[in-house]
């Protein structure tokens, strides 16, 4: 095989001149998340019997089958009519089960539209599953006033998990202690191999844990490690178990790993500075999240807010 450096160099130079006229790139940008109050939605197939409906309030998972439709989270109220239409487009079977992964308004406000559209026993109507801690938080905080009582979770569990078989698929609802709130759960569809994480994994921003609602940074980290423990990639650290985050794009294990590493590294850095006696201002000035700001800092939950929350928990 014969080749010459001169020949390749001249070819390269000619090529570089030519491509100057050909560059018409797609715009590279971090996509703006859907606004929390928009009625806009997006429907995507995930795998198995699961679809994802993205809303500004939260992502929604929809499982369809002969027995009916099971829905995980309900999104924001403004998008609910569109969500209902989209579900009708996926299945003409009855809406039979609703699961709330948390009690944050963006995840449960849509209960007001989806619950009446479902079937269930008289008076109670369609079951709304959730963790009892969430129900307690709703009853004891201002959040409860945002949603009429009849749309609160009406089928709750106290323990670590609760299982359900629907459409011939095993479904595991797992409590994630003290994560974004004290009443969060994840939902795992065994046959479809899809995990719905609730708010704990929000690929569009830093974790917005709420200590006043029983949430904590360490709970988020523990929960993310639990996701990594559950998910099994198929090939090349991707595929296999797919993950529907609280907000943002469909993910696989490696996306959760990046997110877990980010939260852990920032936690460690802030802890180190705290051990050295640094103040919150010192911590913010040191920019311990600089490399993640472009990925996760948002208008409503800025880097400074996140660092302050981390600092407050660790001190």
């Amino acid at each position: 095989m014969i080749y010459s450096t001169k020949k390749i160099t001249s070819f390269l130079l000619a090529s570089l001149v030519l491509i100057g006229s050909l560059i018409q790139t797609t715009q590279a940008q971090r996509p703006e998340p859907l606004a929390p109050d928009t009625d806009e939605i997006e429907v995507l197939p995930v795998q198995g019997s699961i679809h994802m409906i993205a809303t500004g309030g939260s992502n929604i998972a929809v499982q369809t089958g002969e027995m009916g439709v099971l829905i995980v989270d309900a999104g924001n109220l403004e998008a609910s009519e569109n969500v209902l239409s989209a579900i009708r487009g996926l299945s003409n079977r009855p809406l039979s089960q609703l699961i709330n992964t948390t009690i944050l308004p963006g995840h449960i406000a849509g209960n007001q539209i989806l619950h009446p559209a479902g079937i269930g026993p008289p008076i109670v109507g369609m079951p709304i599953f959730g963790h009892t801690n969430g129900l307690t938080i709703l009853a004891s905080s201002d959040l409860g006033s945002l949603l009429p009582y009849e749309f609160w979770p009406n089928s709750t569990f106290f323990g670590e998990d609760r299982t359900l078989n629907f459409n011939s698929e095993g479904i595991d609802m797992m409590h994630v202690p003290a994560a974004i709130t004290g009443g969060d759960i994840m939902v795992y569809f065994r046959d479809s191999d899809v995990l719905v994480t609730g708010p704990m994994f929000d690929i569009t921003g830093y974790p917005k844990f709420r200590p006043e609602l029983g949430g904590s940074l360490q709970g988020v980290i523990d929960g993310l490690n639990r996701i990594i423990n559950i998910t099994i990639p198929e090939f090349n650290q991707q595929g296999g178990t797919l993950v529907i985050p609280g907000h943002g794009r469909i993910a696989s294990e490696s996306d959760v790993v990046e997110y877990r590493d980010m939260v852990t590294i920032i936690r460690d850095r802030v802890q180190y500075m705290l051990d050295e006696g640094k103040s919150l201002d010192d911590v913010i000035a040191a920019r311990p999240a600089l490399e993640y700001d472009g990925l996760y800092s948002g208008e409503s939950w800025t880097t400074e807010m996140f660092l302050e929350a981390v600092y407050d928990e660790l001190r």
């Binding site: 797609t26 971090r30 993205a54 090349n236 469909i250 993910a251 294990e253």
Partner: protein, 304 residues
Amino acid sequence: MKCRICYCLLTATLSLYFNPQLLAQELSYSEREGFDIAGMWAALVLEDWYDRVPGAGLGSYLGIPINDAARQKAETWDASILSQPERQGQPHPAQYSFRGPRPDLRIDRILDPVTDQLIGYETNGTYGRADRTIWLDGREHPSERHGLHKWNGFSTGVWQNGVLIVTTTHMKYGVYQRNGVPASPYGVMTEFFFRHGEYMTMVSHIEDPIYLEEPLVRSQTWILNPPQVVSRANPFTSVEEVAMEPGWVPHWPLGTMHYDTANELGIAVEATGGGSVTLYPEYRETLRLMREEYDANLAVEEQE
């Protein structure tokens, strides 16, 4: 024997004559232009050899227009992180997989099973089975907001003026180099494949709104090598390399600076730290001054 050859030729001719589909089949643009990237390609690592084969050393970001955020990520990146069980199966991401080590490529055609039209290419031979698919049938890229990202991203190609232009989106959070220089999942990579006789060059142009100050442009060249064998190796699997607690995330402390490359080259660490200013010829004067200062300091140290 002669008779058998004649029989075969006659059969082949008749098959073509009575199979109008084969004769009337519309040639794809690549075939009309005589340009096809399918085949066995041996990498010619005559440029950037150090970065591509042994791999750039710690703190060497030369020629990469990284910003401060990327530099902080790279400086605090600890190679031990690749020992995490959940990272051991990672292939090289699309942003890097055609850069190194080498790689020799096998590029296969993907044909429509019904029409036999060329609808894409699949590339093999990259580290960790970072196989890529380049769709040529005009399909749309997945949802920008909610589509799944993959190590190989989602690539579509078109021919323009004799150049195959491949646009890749939906890549995972990866690296531009094997020493921790980060690549965000929101980058867009445009690759230009040229064929010049037996040579094929690909120039990649990556825009990254999170980690690059300006587009990163790099080129790679291969030579056609039909006897080469590039098999589909087994993908990586995780093993227990070291005992660690679940959730172990190794990283260097904030403020770490790697002087390895700067010391090796005898220049200031600012020069090895990359950034767009270091890409242009004017920076040679800055480098010259840095070298003078370095030598002067060294001389003082030796006298002491």
